[in-house]
């Protein structure tokens, strides 16, 4: 049988010889590096390449592991998120309540201090206004059952608020001192000049003051002893004086001591309530 010549066998031979040569070179390089105690170029190249591959593989593995763990934990995380959201909402609500309590604390404290000076006084909260806003009246949450009577005076920590004009069992109506229908006997503190304080819808006008009275801007005006108020409760301070020539009386505009735009807690003072003054 005649053998047939092919290049295939020759290539195999070359491949085997090449492999042996490469293995020898690698062995020589590695042995040389081992002898010198340093990593060979081959080790460095392979190690570096392997590092990239390992990093990529580890990253992929970790991601897959994390994703599977997340998927597995999803119901628990969802419930946890719901719990935290509810807790956050609750804490926000509590925070708002605490802030409101903090904001009200000075007012409540001032009202309590004023109430302590007037043992029979009734603490009340403003709950309503004139629906048509034609008159300056407010509704408070205390009525005849709490001991409120018609014409009782109403004050807050700053001064005179008004007087009770209508009483129901559980609520009362207070005519504010700035209403045009309000009439309160008043005294200018410096000089003891008497007059009648009536409302202008936003401020108070002191009328029927004697022409010889020496009124000055900034003078304090207090209540005189009357049907609704005891003497000495602060009404406000004079902001303008009108002293017309030839008129029988002079008038003065008073800036109220009470901030009528934001009254919320007041004291109803029955007229026979003894004042515990120092």
């Amino acid at each position: 049988m005649v053998s047939i010549f092919t290049y295939r066998d020759e290539r195999k031979l070359f491949a085997v010889v090449g492999a042996i040569i490469v293995a020898a070179v690698v062995a020589l390089i590695q042995l040389d590096a081992a002898k010198s105690g340093k990593p060979s170029l081959i080790t460095i190249a392979v190690g570096s390449t392997a590092l990239f591959v390992q990093s990529a593989a580890a990253g992929l593995g970790n991601s897959l592991r994390g994703a599977s763990a997340t998927l597995g934990d999803a119901p628990r995380l969802y419930a946890r998120n719901a719990d935290l959201t509810a807790e956050n909402r609750s804490l926000r609500g509590e925070n708002a309540r605490l802030r409101e309590a903090l904001a009200q604390a000075p007012e409540a404290e001032a009202i309590a201090r004023t109430a302590a000076e007037l043992p029979g006084a009734i603490v009340a909260t403003v709950v309503g206004f004139d629906p048509e806003n034609l008159s300056r009246i407010v509704t408070i949450d205390r009525g005849s059952e709490a001991g409120v009577h018609r014409d009782d005076g109403v004050i807050d920590e700053d001064g005179v608020v008004g007087r009770v004009v209508d009483v129901a069992p559980l609520r009362s109506t207070v005519l504010l001192a700035i209403d045009g229908a309000s009439k309160v006997p008043a005294v200018v503190q410096s000089g003891r000049w008497w007059g009648i304080a009536t409302g202008t819808n936003s401020r108070i006008r002191l009328q029927y003051v004697s022409q010889d009275a020496k009124l000055h801007v900034g003078d304090a005006v207090v209540t005189g002893d009357g049907r609704s108020f005891r003497a000495g409760l602060m009404l406000g301070r004079i902001s303008e004086v009108d002293h017309p020539e030839g008129a029988l009386y002079q008038t003065a505009l008073i800036e109220p001591a009470v901030a009528f735009g934001r009254i919320s807690r007041v004291l109803v003072v029955p007229h026979d309530t003894p004042a515990d003054e120092p």
């Binding site: 206004f129 048509e132 009246i137 004009v165 609520r171 045009g180 229908a181 409302g199």
Partner: protein, 195 residues
């Protein structure tokens, strides 16, 4: 009630609501809104006004949602029902105010009757009858309120200030009525009471 009965009732209501002397006026048949819509609107109006009035005032005047509800009901139902509903709404306002006796009761009843009457004039030709109606009845109500307060011995202490507020309230009411009809055209009714 079958169909023919309802038609007879409707025709009867038409003739009841349109006196012979007013044959030149547009045809008018009551078109009352659902009762609980009216009650809810009145409750909301009273609650809002009694709680927020000073804070929503424009130049001292607040939009009187109460008179808007009364006028709306009266325009859709007529003078008599407008009067009755106005009386109820006014009584609620008197109760909330506490210092007006019966002034709001009767002035609002009068306003309701007037609004119902206005809806039987040429104003019935437009779905916007509520707009001029609200302006007019607001002023008339204020006038009646002042007179009744005077008769109760509680005359207005600052009449010019209050008149100024009433004029503003009249303009505000008309503006709000226009806006309400613009946004909710159904408030104007089905139009069944118009020619």
């Amino acid at each position: 009630m079958n169909r023919s009965d309802s038609e007879i009732a409707r025709t009867r209501a038409f003739w009841d609501a349109n006196k012979p002397i007013e044959t030149g006026a547009p045809g008018y048949v009551p078109d009352p809104p659902v009762w609980w819509h009216v009650a809810l609107a009145l409750g909301v109006a009273l609650g809002l006004q009694a709680t927020l009035a000073p804070f929503i005032a424009v130049r001292g005047a607040v939009v009187s949602m109460v008179i808007l509800v009364v006028a709306w009901y009266a325009v859709r139902t007529g003078s008599l029902r407008g009067f009755a509903f106005g009386m109820v709404a006014g009584a609620c306002e008197d109760a909330l105010t506490g210092a007006t006796g019966v002034a709001w009761t009767f002035s609002t009843a009068l306003a309701g009757a007037l609004a119902g009457r206005l809806a039987r004039t040429y104003l019935a030709d437009t779905k916007l009858a509520l707009v001029p109606g609200a302006a007019v009845v607001t002023l008339v109500r204020y006038g009646a309120f002042t007179l009744i307060m005077q008769s109760q011995g509680r005359g207005a202490a600052l009449p010019l200030v209050q008149l100024h507020a009433a004029l503003w309230q009249s303009a505000l009411d008309a503006a709000v009525a226009l806006a309400a009809l613009w946004i909710f055209p159904a408030l104007g009714g089905s139009g069944a009471h118009r020619r």
